[in-house]
Amino acid sequence: MTVSGLAEVLTFEVATLSSRLRTREISSVEATEAYLDWISERDGKLGSYITVTQERARTDAARADREIAAGIWRGPFHGVPLGLKDNVYTKGILTTGGSKVLADFRPDFDATAWAKLASQGAVLLGKLNLNEFAYGGLLKRCRNPYDLERFPGGSSAGSAVAVVAGMCAAAIGTDTSGSIRIPAAQCGCVGLKPTYGRVSRFGMIPLAYTMDHVGPMTRSVRDAALMLNVMAGFDESDSTSSRELVPDFTAALAGGVRGIRVGIIRELTDGLSDEVSRAFSAALRLLASSGAHLDEVSLPTLEFGALINATVTWVEALDYHERWLRERRNDYGKEIRLNLETGMMIPALDYFRAQRGRARILAEALSTLQNHDVLVSPGVATTALKVRDYLKMDEKTRAGLAYRNQLRFTQPFDTTGQPALTIPTGIASDGLPTSMQIVGRPFDEAMVLCVAASYEAMRGPLSCPPL
């Protein structure tokens, strides 16, 4: 393949790359080397990787090429280079959680979600940057591919950046308060938080056990469906993983939205920037123009969902970190330390009440979903924030902004465990992506993906970041 052809490989969706690998139009080694070269050239400025696993990647790719040449086809991820958030266990490979606390940690087994992809022949490019233990402050080193002066969102920041900037074909992220969907929204890729239990949490560094989700971050809805096909399913190593039937999620993609009932969440349509508003309106119009029935719905307990999310996370995160916090306090960053210390002051009674309250929020959402197939909102309220502007703000302004602009859109659906996906809706005049969130019934990722795929087809391709 020519040099320009190899550069094009970096923009391929998994589905495209996979078909060319299968026909041996391109080899996995060629694709992998193209990714490694690009990472080496560009990641110094973007900061998406914590560890690049060159040798492992080359070994995986060579094996994939040998197997494909021998007529062995493991599936759509065979020979495809992927990145993993650095809170995903990888056997023998550094897994830091983005923290000094685990700076030298090498697990002795693979996380189930990654093991499933690896068994399909996926190539491991490396481990991706994240906020400390997915709970720390904003990442200053990792930048938005559309504008290096802006934040990428978090906590799966490296995953989103690498996918958008052509430094992996797809990535795994985790989401407890919005950590897949927020960076996907700010960087311009597809981020899917599946239903709680749909994907095994085994081998993920936990943040909040009862609300941790694992999911795909990809360049297209089809790729998210392909990845979920592999990652989903019961895992006896994770007692909370679901035995719910796993359909072929790609089968739902061509369903279209004619007759689909879409509820616009009223509480999440206020406080938007003008450009996010316009892009969201345009997205709704596209859905309506292709036959979806749209109306406005109200979920008054949404903010309660955010409070529950905060309370549960404080306590469950402390459970995991308590010993290290006591013994290695200075190895934690200030932001995560304050969150964990707050957990010490939350009475057991309040944690218990927070858990009980989750059913109330889900009941309201399910009631609304009796008359609707999906609910929609903008992914976040504004485009990505400038690092410089953020640093000028006082703490109170920063905190308020994080909630109003990002977390209020995402936290409630970690509390309810419903599937939720963010998809780019365009590029605003400041050159940054805008997005829409699509929320479904528990275990109905197929419907979420169906609506997202229909919208994506109508929207057309996004312009690439100026790299």
């Binding site: 906590s155 950590s179 119009r285 406005e296 404080w314 609707h372 308020g400 936290q411």
Partner: protein, 165 residues
Amino acid sequence: MPASPCSIAHPAWVEEIFYNKATGGGCKFLVMGTTGGRNVAARGRQPHAGIGRRELLRASLLGGSALVAGIVRVAPAIAGDVEGGPPRAPRGKGPKLSGEVVERVAGAFFGYQMPAADCDTIARGAEATIRTWHLIALSNLAPIDPPFDFSLVCAEAERLTRPRG
């Protein structure tokens, strides 16, 4: 095929459909009108009996997320010291935390020496949260069972007894 929204230069109809102020408390998006949509949710409903949305919003600002850097430091505002804020639980009867109490609890319950600089911040944040939960509990959580499932206990017990690998 409609125009792609990838460029933010949207066609004129975008302006037409977004936020129809004339409808007031009714349909927010004209697109609803064109599709015969209706708002199925009860308007003006409170999120939880007796608890105002503003109060919940403020308490939610306390954080619990990867992105909430230093969020507990906004606690005084959240705790109700904001113009137009909701009625607070009576100070004398509701929970009250000081930096000193925080330091003692951390030491006594967790064997943890809380950094002095953090104590007051943590106290304000935690007090606001506890007070909000106090109000919510007074209101009504009674009919809801906790999501702790015996089958999960059994599954976890099975997992623990299984040989690893």
